[in-house]
């Protein structure tokens, strides 16, 4: 109940903020929430001790699914497209999940990276997906209503932050559930979990699928706000940014993921506006600073458990 109230309060606060905030800020938060969902999936896996370096794959699959459905089938509802993005990413990730659940550490990271780079290659080569330039997506509708030009940014902001809030709440419930705690125990000692009757592989498989769903939903939401998709969504540098946000957030707090995602967007926007030639340098220094001085992420600032 407390969780639900916190969620409602957070969403109400965000909605009010979006109403008064300038357009660039609502756009920035929309992007942060969409990207944050992908990193939320990474955090779900990180709690079990593995870090995927190819979450760009599910991000791109979610984005492409929503965009194709929009352009080819004329289905424009934002909620439906978001759901389809999440489901498609989960379905495509499903055959790989049991396999990936056997891997740990660097090998898990590299195998997911390979998968995302194959997706990138496919995105570049398949004509239906628009090749290296990608393609544009029109304006989504909300439950049959087509928002006017002046309001569309705010509406997509509300939808994205709303979906992100719901997913964040669900993530918290999952993290505190039995399986969520098994995942956490596997991080400490897998053998112990197995001897106590838990199945680490099953937990890892399910975490991977949940992460894929989160990534797909994030991809669909970002594409609908951005109005464009391209293979770069699946490139390893994009995946690297998602991992960056997850590390910046730490694995304890769910809210921290979205804070971290916003921090990254802010740092990126401001450094690319004020130091257009050295924004990667600024980002790199910032990342080093975080790893050095906040090794458990910004979530550890308020999460003492």
């Amino acid at each position: 109940m407390r969780l639900l109230l916190a969620g409602v309060a957070a969403f109400a606060g965000l909605a009010a903020l979006g109403w008064v905030a300038p357009r660039w800020l609502t756009y920035l938060v929309t992007m942060s929430a969409g990207h944050g969902l992908v990193s939320l999936g990474i955090v779900a896996l990180m709690r079990g001790g593995v870090v995927p370096f190819g979450q760009g794959m599910v991000f791109a699959i979610g984005g492409y699914s929503a965009a194709l459905l929009f352009n080819k089938a004329g289905f424009t509802d934002v909620f439906g497209l978001t759901l389809v993005g999440g489901v498609m990413a989960t379905l495509i990730a499903a055959p790989f999940a049991p396999l990936l659940a056997r891997y740990r550490g660097i090998f898990f990271a590299m195998l997911t990276l390979a998968l995302s780079m194959v997706t990138y290659g496919l995105g570049m080569k398949i004509e239906l997906l628009g090749g290296s330039d990608g393609f544009n997506v029109g304006r989504a509708s909300v439950l049959g209503w087509r928002p006017p030009d002046a309001q569309v940014g705010y509406v997509l902001y509300l939808v994205t932050t709303g979906v992100a809030t719901v997913m964040a709440l669900l993530a918290r419930v999952y993290f505190d559930s039995t399986r969520g705690l098994v995942t956490l125990a596997a991080r400490d000692n897998e053998l112990r979990v197995e001897y106590l009757g838990g199945s680490v592989r099953q937990a890892m498989t399910i975490n991977f699928l949940l992460a894929a769903f989160c990534g797909g939903v994030g991809g669909a939401l970002v594409v609908l706000s951005l109005g464009h998709i391209e293979p770069q969504f699946s490139y390893w540098t994009t995946s690297g940014e998602f991992v960056f946000v997850a590390i910046l957030a730490g694995w304890q707090s769910v809210a921290a993921v979205f804070v971290a995602s916003t921090v990254l967007e802010v740092v990126r926007s401001f450094s690319s506006a004020y130091f257009p030639n050295t924004w990667q340098l600024a980002l790199g220094l910032f990342l080093l600073f975080v790893i050095r001085f906040l090794p458990r992420g910004i979530g550890s600032l308020w999460w003492k458990r």
Binding site: L115, V118, G121, L191, L281, G284, L287, I291, R292
Partner: protein, 294 residues
């Protein structure tokens, strides 16, 4: 035949770069994303050095020396700075976190390269024609490709000999096996770390310098190299010289086969091979299976 020559030429420089990556991983336990940036630094430095050589009216053959000097300069200046100034603060941390540290370093070096050399492409065409051409059957091939293959053999043999037949190499092997025990036996581990890292960076720079005549040196060359050399060491097994060689040949041939027979598949042929190898040999081809620690 063309596929084979192309594949082996690609494998040659890739082997040199991947050897550096695998050495750094073996000793420091860091999978270095910034390795591709050192490759790029090598290529840029080579472009500058060869340019200066031409301005000083050196004989064209000296451009090879200039490229070698470029790699040495990159290793001598950047490697100690990176290892002492940055990496040593993160030793002993989680492997994946270290990957992220090097990711940050990669981002930084990307911009530093642009600040120093600008965004315009550089062309180092001079050395490419030095070795003439080679006739094999009906086809003619560029001699430089064969020179590169020869160099890869020499570099591979030198590193193998250095590690297995010299006192310093044995010390490095001891540190790879267990840094703690080596340290208690009186080995100066941080010196070994720096040595291995410098050699690793030198190899990345060397790969970059000697491929610069074959490519246009532009911002972003590092990005592709990193992932391909990752694929090589993952296929071969992290920390194994033989693995890097076999991995480079597999990747080189897979790419060349794809380029000649199925151009559509060029971009992901390498990753498919990597994924297949990982599925059947999770530790890579040349890595012994390790016991799980409880």
């Amino acid at each position: 035949m063309t596929i084979l020559v192309d594949g082996l030429a690609y494998a040659s420089w890739l082997f040199i770069v991947a050897l550096g990556l695998t050495l750094v991983f073996g000793v420091l336990k860091i999978l270095n994303i910034a390795h591709g940036s050192f490759y790029a630094l090598g290529a840029y430095a080579a472009a500058s050095f060869v340019g200066w050589g031409a301005a000083l009216k050196w004989a064209p053959a000296f451009s090879l020396v200039a490229m070698l000097l470029a790699a040495v300069a990159v290793a001598a200046i950047v490697a100690p700075l990176t290892e002492r100034g940055l990496l040593r603060f993160f030793y002993g941390r989680d492997e994946v976190l270290l990957v992220l540290v090097t990711y940050a370093l990669f981002l930084i070096l990307e911009d530093v390269t642009k600040l120093v050399w600008g965004t315009n492409p550089y062309f180092v065409s001079e050395p490419y024609g030095l070795f003439g051409s080679v006739n094999l059957g009906v086809q003619t091939y560029v001699g430089y490709d064969f020179a590169l293959m020869f160099m890869a053999l020499v570099v591979g043999a030198a590193v193998w000999w250095g590690l297995n037949r010299t006192r310093q190499g044995k010390i490095v092997l001891a540190v790879i096996h267990s840094a703690e025990i080596a340290s208690s036996m009186g080995v100066n581990v941080s010196r070994v770390y720096m040595l291995a890292f410098t050699i690793g960076i030198f190899l990345a720079g060397l790969g970059g310098a000697f491929t610069s005549p074959m490519i246009s040196v532009v911002p972003g060359v590092s990005v592709g190299v990193i992932i391909v050399s990752f694929a090589v060491v993952i296929i071969g097994g992290l920390g194994s010289i033989e693995g890097a060689a076999v991995g480079a040949i597999i990747v080189g041939l897979a790419r060349s086969l794809a380029v000649h027979l199925a151009p559509v598949a060029e971009l992901f042929s390498i990753y498919i091979v990597m994924a297949i190898v990982l599925m059947f040999r999770p530790e890579g081809l040349f890595q012994r299976v390790q016991a799980r620690k409880i």
